[in-house]
């Protein structure tokens, strides 16, 4: 017996939805086995990682807090990924966005009222993220530099910009010499959660943006142009869609989204910017984008799931004493599985009996 791949005439819609779900479930099963082999209580570790954050109401704030930046960033990335433009430097744009917003906060008078300070910082955050993403956009359209490498290199540069600013010019004079900025004033901050609820302000933004991106991606001429550029660049040009404009617009949008996520995080969760600010949301959002199949609604759900693993990873760390790094492995495994299962959308697996005149040439078993 061997497995044969047969190309489907039309991609399977069932598989498109089923495979992400299966990937998550399979990750849980694999995780349980691996933990068991490593000498931990496997099923309990999985329960703590994947289930506790959902069933324990006191964890909901944490989950929604983590989900907000993941969803906001991943919405932007998904648009670019549809055009096969790979912005893998959202982490850098997230950092620079937050720094730009913070710069505006420190430049404005402390007494500036909230209705001025908050929008000014948010706009600055978006512009900061866009500016950082404009570099790879320029490099790609003018010099044909692969955005995969340039966006990533700029993450490392952004980290150094952050280190420099919080350790030098923007260092908090009352911070006991810690590398961190002074705290934002009350009018420059957003609450952790909307009073009386478990919902952080960033999550409200995430919901609104999910709807906006849904319309943009599935109904608008712009969304259609992005999909066309990704699927067939020559056809896009023939249809009147400009590839360079798509590079620019998708990188501006994904950079702006990352910057927005950064400044919201800084304003509502940390109240300042410190060394621990870059927490990997920009990288995890790439996984969110693929797990969500680049669809805004899928991204929204995938963002929640990844947020659960973040929070659950911490729960499992204290409850079952698994190492911190396991959350990363779970996320990477999920990404591997979703990418591997892609083939089920486009192909049908068929078991064939190993006849002497075996079928099509050369599928490595």
């Amino acid at each position: 017996m061997r497995i044969r791949l047969e190309k489907r005439l039309t991609p399977s819609r069932f598989m498109l939805v089923a495979t992400p779900v299966a990937s998550v479930l399979l990750t849980m099963a694999l995780g349980a086995v691996i933990f068991e082999l490593l000498g931990f209580d496997g099923p309990d570790a999985i329960y703590q990682t994947f289930i506790t954050p959902i069933v324990a109401p006191y964890k909901w704030v944490d989950v929604l807090t983590k989900a907000a930046p993941l969803i906001i960033i991943a919405l932007g990335l998904s648009l670019g990924n549809q055009a096969k433009i790979w912005n893998i430097g959202a982490e850098g744009q997230y950092v620079i966005g937050a720094l730009a917003g913070a710069g505006v906060a420190f430049a404005m008078p402390q007494a500036a009222p909230g209705f001025v300070a908050v929008p000014a910082m948010i706009v600055a955050g978006i512009i900061g993220g866009m500016a950082w993403a404009a570099i790879p956009a320029l490099l790609k359209t003018r010099f044909r530099v692969s955005e995969v490498l340039s966006t990533l290199m700029l993450v490392y540069v952004a980290m150094q910009v952050l280190n420099y600013l919080i350790g030098g010019p923007w260092k908090d004079p009352n911070g006991h010499n810690f590398p961190q900025t002074p705290p934002f004033s009350a009018t420059q901050s957003l609450p952790n959660v909307i009073p009386g609820t478990v919902v952080p302000p960033g999550f409200v933004v995430a919901i609104a943006l999910t709807l906006v991106f849904w319309v943009l991606a599935s109904r608008s001429v712009y969304g259609f142009s992005v999909r066309t550029v990704g699927a067939a660049p020559s056809a896009a040009r023939y249809g009147g869609f400009d590839a360079a404009r798509t590079v620019w617009s998708t990188l501006m949008i994904s950079g702006g989204m990352a910057g927005l996520a950064g400044i919201l995080e800084a304003m509502s969760q940390l109240g300042q910017i410190n060394l621990g600010f870059p927490s990997g949301y920009g990288f995890t959002a790439i996984i969110v984008s693929f797990l969500g199949r680049l669809h805004p609604v899928g991204v929204f759900l995938a963002g929640l799931i990844l947020a659960v693993t973040y929070v659950g990873g911490q729960v499992a760390q204290t409850a079952v004493h698994v190492p911190e790094a396991t959350a990363g492995i779970f996320q990477a495994t999920m990404l591997f599985l979703i990418l591997a299962s892609d083939i089920l959308v486009r192909y049908r697996l068929r078991l064939v009996r190993a006849a002497p005149r075996a079928a099509t040439a050369g599928a490595p078993a």
């Binding site: 047969e6 190309k7 489907r8 005439l9 039309t10 991609p11 319309v215 109904r219 608008s220 001429v221 712009y222 259609f224 999909r227 066309t228 699927a231 067939a232 020559s234 056809a235 040009r237 023939y238 249809g239 009147g240 049908r348 005149r357 075996a358 079928a359 099509t360 040439a361």
Partner: protein, 520 residues
């Protein structure tokens, strides 16, 4: 050819299926030593699948391949070459960035030293009177020269059976004659040739026997020298040939689409520069552009469609200079285009037909309001195209990539024609399309012109242009010849222009050389 010798190649009941298609259905075939055997069939008849099995690229599901009397199982191309089977591919199996000699070395299984390889290479060139520079990079060579690499590669194996897959589709008439010369010499030395084509006059000129394939089955064998070409054609198509209904007396209106000294630099290293192209297509006229592949056809189409902008006054639509306008703006003014490559250029294979209708129809057919696409309108337009052009598809939701070549081409042509363009530019409208679809497409082009549109047809198929167009010109190395009236011009004249003689010294020299080698 000894009497009683076993056939060089015999296929017994060979079958092969792909999802949804039975590509070959118990095919029987017999090729004698030293015979030039035609495998005749329409696009999609299963010719390519059959030869891929003979060459070991695909394995048959059922049946037996017998070579020189011995049943064999050919598991890969290397095994085929060991038996003495060589193949020249339709889309060449060459490596563009490498030299001729490296390409030759890659096609040989024996490890030869550079010097031995070069000696062998020159031996074959001399024996078959071919010319080829071993140090040139393939991407700098003409299509004819590239094919020569493939032939030399096959000949170096001293083949006992040579498979040629549609070898003439990219050659000028003179190059075809040269190729036939080589093949005849090869056959005379005892090598069998399996010659795949759908061009009847070639088969009549070259082949000893013809096996005709339709829908994956053998429907007959014939002696092409005796058989009436028309009856072979009808066997191949499985129906009687349909004539295009073209109004006898045609008069043309004012110019609708013109180019004036249109010049553009090479778009890429491998592209062709356009040199002062001037043409004029009047209302109701079908203007044909002939030429060998890679002489600027795609560049001309891009310049007209707007994919490549040019000087404002070098492209004129309805008296207005549109050279600077975008694709979308030109389309709104009534200039529509269909590029050569269907999947990936004229249509997106992984998109539905509805989305493919939006690709070019969204503005002219009014699908868009406030930046949003009205999918209802797009769907009903796609359905209209499917109905009007009898496209075989499950509906507007079907993926473009799931349609056969002919049906997708009908959809694309329909999508543009139903937009009622003032001028339509089409490149290779029936390339790789079955006869039924080709006839329908030709009729649609004629009808569009009859309604007063200007139509520019760019094609490598001279027969197609001669039946379809009113006026014809030849493109060579990016320059366009003077327009000629169809019916007043001979195939030889056009063939010479395709080889390049209009004031181009290099082309002329090449041409004279060929004429001396093969006095017509």
């Amino acid at each position: 050819m000894k009497v009683g010798a076993p056939p060089r190649l015999e296929l017994v009941g060979v079958s092969k299926s792909f999802p949804g298609v039975r590509a070959n259905d118990s095919v029987n075939l017999r090729v004698k030593p030293g015979e030039i055997h035609a495998l005749l069939g329409e696009n999609g008849a299963g010719k390519s699948t059959l030869v891929k099995m003979i060459y070991g690229i695909l394995a048959p599901d059922e049946g037996q391949i017998v070579f020189d009397g011995a049943p064999t199982r050919i598991s890969n191309p290397r095994a085929a070459r060991r038996l003495g089977i060589g193949m020249v591919f339709q889309h060449f199996s060459l490596f563009e960035a490498m030299t001729v000699l490296e390409n030759i070395a890659l096609g040989l299984d024996a490890r030869l030293s550079q010097r031995d390889l070069l000696a062998e290479f020159h031996r074959v060139l001399d024996a078959y009177r071919l010319k080829l520079d071993p140090r040139r990079i393939v991407s700098t060579l003409s299509v004819g020269e590239r094919q020569r690499i493939e032939i030399v590669r096959a000949l170096l194996l001293n083949p006992r059976l040579l498979i040629m897959d549609e070898p003439t589709s990219v050659l000028t008439p003179q190059e075809v004659e040269q190729l036939f010369e080589t093949l005849r010499r090869l056959a005379a030395s005892g090598c069998s040739i399996l010659y795949i084509s759908h061009k009847l006059h070639e088969i009549v000129a070259l082949c000893d026997t013809a096996t005709i394939l339709r829908g994956g089955k053998v429907v007959g064998t014939a002696d092409p020298k005796r058989e009436n070409p028309r009856s072979m054609a009808e066997m191949m198509i499985g129906a009687s040939l349909k004539e295009i209904a073209k109004p006898a007396e045609r008069s043309f209106g004012p110019p609708k689409l013109e180019t004036l000294d249109l010049s553009l630099p090479k778009p890429t290293e491998f592209g062709v520069a356009l040199k002062g192209v001037t043409l004029c297509v009047r209302a109701g006229e079908i203007f044909g552009v002939a030429g060998v592949a890679g002489n600027g056809q795609n560049e001309l189409l891009s310049a007209l469609s707007g994919e490549t902008p040019s000087a404002a006054e070098s492209v004129i639509l309805l008296g207005e200079g549109v050279g600077r306008l975008s694709v979308t703006e030109r389309r709104e003014l009534g200039l529509c285009a269909v590029p050569e490559e269907r999947n990936g250029h004229a249509a997106v294979g992984e998109f539905s037909l509805t989305d493919n209708a939006s690709l070019t129809g969204r503005n002219r057919m009014d699908f868009v309001s406030f930046g949003l696409i009205n999918s209802g309108k797009a769907t009903s337009y796609a359905a209209e195209v499917i109905g009007a052009f009898t496209v075989k598809a499950t509906g507007p939701g079907a993926l473009a990539g799931s349609l056969s070549g002919g049906n997708l081409q009908k959809f694309i042509m329909g999508r543009e024609i139903l937009q009622q363009p003032a001028a339509l530019v089409v490149c290779q409208p029936t390339w790789g399309v079955d006869a039924g679809a080709a006839a329908a497409i030709h009729q649609a082009i004629v009808d569009l012109a009859a309604r007063g549109s200007a139509v520019l047809v760019i094609s490598q198929d001279l027969d197609e242009l001669l039946t379809l167009s009113d006026t014809i010109a030849v493109i060579n190395l990016g320059a366009l010849s003077k327009p000629m009236t169809v019916g007043e011009v001979s195939i030889e004249e056009i063939g010479l222009l395709m080889g390049g003689v209009h004031g181009d010294p290099a082309g002329t020299a090449q041409m004279t050389e060929q004429l001396h080698a093969h006095p017509a």
